[in-house]
Amino acid sequence: MVLAAWLAQGLGPALDASSDVDKFLSFTVAGLSVAAILAVGASGLVLTYTTTGVFNFAHGAIGMLGAFAYWQLRFDWGWPAPLAIATVLFVLGPLFGALLELVIFRGLQQTTETVKLVVTVSLLFSLIGLANWVWDPDVLRRDAKFLSGRGFDVAGVAVTWHEFITIVVAVAVAAGLRVLLYHTRAGIAMRAAVDDRPLAALNGARPDRSSMLAWAIGSSLAALSGILFVGTISLAPAPMSLLIVNAYAAAMIGRLRSLPMTFVGALVLGLTEGYLRGYLSDWTDNNQYFDSTFVSAVPVIVLFVVLLVLPSARLRAHGTARTREVVPMPSMRGAFTFAAVVVAGTALAIPLLTTANAVTMGRMYGLAIVALALVPLIGLAGQVSLAHWSLAGIGAVTMAHLGTGGSPMGIVWAFVFTALVGALIALPTLRLSGIYLALATAAFAVFLDRWVFRLRPFDLPFTDVKIALFGTGSVGVPDLKLFGYTFDTYYRQLMLMATTFALMSVFVVWLRRSRFGRRLLAMKDSPAACATVGMNLTMTKLTIFAVSAGMAGIGGALIGSLQGSTNQQNWEFTVGLPVFMVAVVGGIQRVGGALFAGISLAVLAAMPDWPVLRNVSWFPNLATVTPGLMGIGLGRNPNGAVADMREAFEPLARARAVFLAFLAALGALYLYVVTSDVGAWWLIIGGVVLLLGATAFVQSRARGADTGAAGPQPMFAGDELEWVGIDRPFTPDDLAALDDRLGALEVR
């Protein structure tokens, strides 16, 4: 192999010079056609972003859906290509885009960046699930070039019609967008909405209509890029949806604003890819580490670099609206109680758990730990990371290699090593925030996916340390051994994970209550003010990124141990998205939100195996799509579902007698279920019934008390402050109440 390359190189000059030129030209054409697809995809993205302020992470997934729809019409139903294309581009695509705008994105301008992010990421995830549901993933769909791949020769270079059409289409799109934006009323209204929505509305433009138009055109362009991709790759929902990450790089070169620069960006990226495919093996002497996986990682490297070098002032995102976000301040006592309930509850559950359920529950805590790692980072510090699942993967790999024989040093190294990687991501991205930070971390994760995690074993340069991340595909992860005690059954591992989660919860609460936690919350609201009171933001961000990454690493190491072995697919970017999404749905500011994420995801993953559902053929698909639907539907509440649940159940915890009675009944039920063989189900069902019953009882009692007391209330019990002092003298308490009511300054 190497010999052949060496020979070819040596013979290079002797070969006919025109064949070198031909080779160059044919890779140029290939590069141009890649560039054309990227340009079409990226321009749709830029159009929706500039018009609506929503950066659509799902843009690629819409394109993927367009490609599948085209395939369905063209090949499954045998429609003529032009008709199929026209239907997708001019009917299905725009309708889908308009529908998205109407149902999901209308009104989303006013929310936090995190909410926008969760909604679009959830949409991405749902669409992937949907495509896998509708189109059997095992059917091979590939290589459907226009005109059956026929082509023609230009000066000796073979060009397929597909490539030719692709390039022509991109040029037409560029011209069309130009005309639309500068020479039509609708386009001018769209550009006005970019600058100032309220102002545009005042001037009689209809921003909602412009938004809908932008979503319709954006989706149509996404679908167009998807259809063009059909000629070069095989259709697979997840990878295809992520191809758009390549277009993100082009869009970012256009700074998400300039269409011409976006096209230039696409051109650079496309040609780079074309030439790398042609020449990289020559340039690196066929180095096996710089193979096609590296070429596919190049666009994300470019994305990362572009994000880093963009001038920071330009990266001020669209103005973020203030929403009533609440970050609770739990007491340490509450934290210890929570931890004790988690550990004791798990211990009590063990006699009732089958092995499979123990694994599910262990996985639940593993996911909860990774979600918990996001709480201080996103919830407190306001720094988004989409790379945490990949970091957990690094933790798992570290445990596999450095935890030999179950050494606890594996866990320690998992923490240290992922913390270092976390700091490494944070260091260049310190300037970035919001969507840009999300993109940079996503780029990092996809970079690991596409290249690093697939690397064949290698020697660390200048040492003889051998690195074999996932070995030859899958690598065993040992069970932890602590003080001579091995966590070698699923039950023991479950206890280990529950305890770890409990301890980490206490840590996160402690962090929230500490000075450092206060500092993080301050930074979330105003980095500028933090700097001007003397805070070193660099250190603060690095620290929290490292700590959070380290926590995710421990989670990954434990998940790896529980699985017994781990591979690259376990830690793919898209696999980890639900953790982020559902943690935000649960409440990213609270420990309970992380547990919510763990429970939801683990239960959803296990449900298809439940006896009642085992024969429901569509259920696995529904379970896959559900986290996405949760993110779209519930991700809007910035305080999370757990906050609402807490509110609902708080009265019960307050009503001492009823609460104790509830606990006693629950205990009795538990004892009955453990000692008889009615099955653990009854505990869950009975527990829920008891909980709802007790809550309803407390509520109805409270309502009764309200109406009972309404009659003979004292005059100035609450709202009648103005009467105080008239029908009785002021007391100091009354004065304080008055001050408080009026929000008055103390007057001296």
Binding site: R322, E325, V326, V327, R515, R518, R519, L521, A522, K524, D525, S526, A528, A529, C530, A531, T532, V533, G534, M535, N536, L537, D739, D740, G743, A744, L745, E746
Partner: protein, 238 residues
């Protein structure tokens, strides 16, 4: 030597000269005013002083030490504090916590002193309220308390009186005089001309990015160029 010394500061935003060779000084133990019409460049100068913006030319020094290469947080640690015209509060935190964040950075104040500072700006009654619930005027006072918690040598105030009523404005004026009496250098940007004329020892007038007059209240009030910049109106009236 002046506590704060800006000389030859020039900033341009894409060809538009926001500051053009501006010299401003603020002395220890004095309240220095910086006034000028909207868009004159006052806030821009503050951003340059505290390091959020890099000037294309000019030198800023604090107690004789040149600051130009220092990041904002290091300038703060040398004794520079500011408030923001467009409020930059820590909205998720209470009044007390906002001030504590600043006090804790270098341990400049303990909990009791933090309470005292909050009382001093007149917010004792709202000490445990979340700041995003406060009206603008009071929110500005939180910014002042937060700045004071770092025990600054130089305090930059960007329109602290907007949102305050007349009585509160008088309280603020008294506070600024007190701070100066304690030795602090206060640089005040303010549209409330009455307040500026009352409390400032020295006033700089900025117009279209240039300093057009420097002097005490009487001097500035009668300056031709200043009168022209303000179209004669508001200065006479006050």
């Amino acid at each position: 030597m002046a506590a704060l010394d800006c000389s030859g500061v020039t900033v341009s935003f894409g060809g538009h000269l926001a500051l053009d060779d501006v010299d401003v000084t603020a002395a220890d133990g004095a309240v220095t005013g910086l006034i000028g019409p909207n868009g004159a460049g006052k806030t821009t100068l503050f951003n340059v002083v505290c390091g959020l913006l890099t000037p294309s030319r000019g030198v800023v020094s604090l107690g004789g030490r040149e600051l130009n290469r220092l990041p904002p947080y290091k300038r703060a640690r040398l004794g520079l504090a500011r408030t923001f015209q467009r409020l930059e509060l820590f909205g998720l935190l209470t009044v007390r916590e906002n001030v504590l964040v600043a006090a804790d950075v270098r341990g400049t104040m303990g909990a009791a002193e933090v309470e005292a500072v909050i009382e001093r700006v007149g917010l004792a009654g709202r000490i445990d309220d979340r700041v995003d619930e406060l009206p603008t005027g009071q929110a500005r006072l939180v910014e002042i308390a937060r700045a004071l918690a770092t025990r600054p040598r130089v305090l930059l105030l960007d329109e602290p009186a907007s949102g305050l009523d007349e009585r509160e404005t008088d309280e603020l004026g008294r506070l600024l005089r007190e701070l100066a009496a304690e030795g602090m250098a206060v640089l005040l940007v303010e549209h409330d001309v009455r307040l500026v004329m009352e409390v400032c020892d020295l006033i700089h007038v900025l117009d279209f990015g240039r300093i057009i007059a420097v002097g005490d209240a009487a001097t500035v009030r009668s300056d031709e160029a200043v009168l022209a910049a303000y179209l004669g109106g508001s200065l006479e009236a006050s």
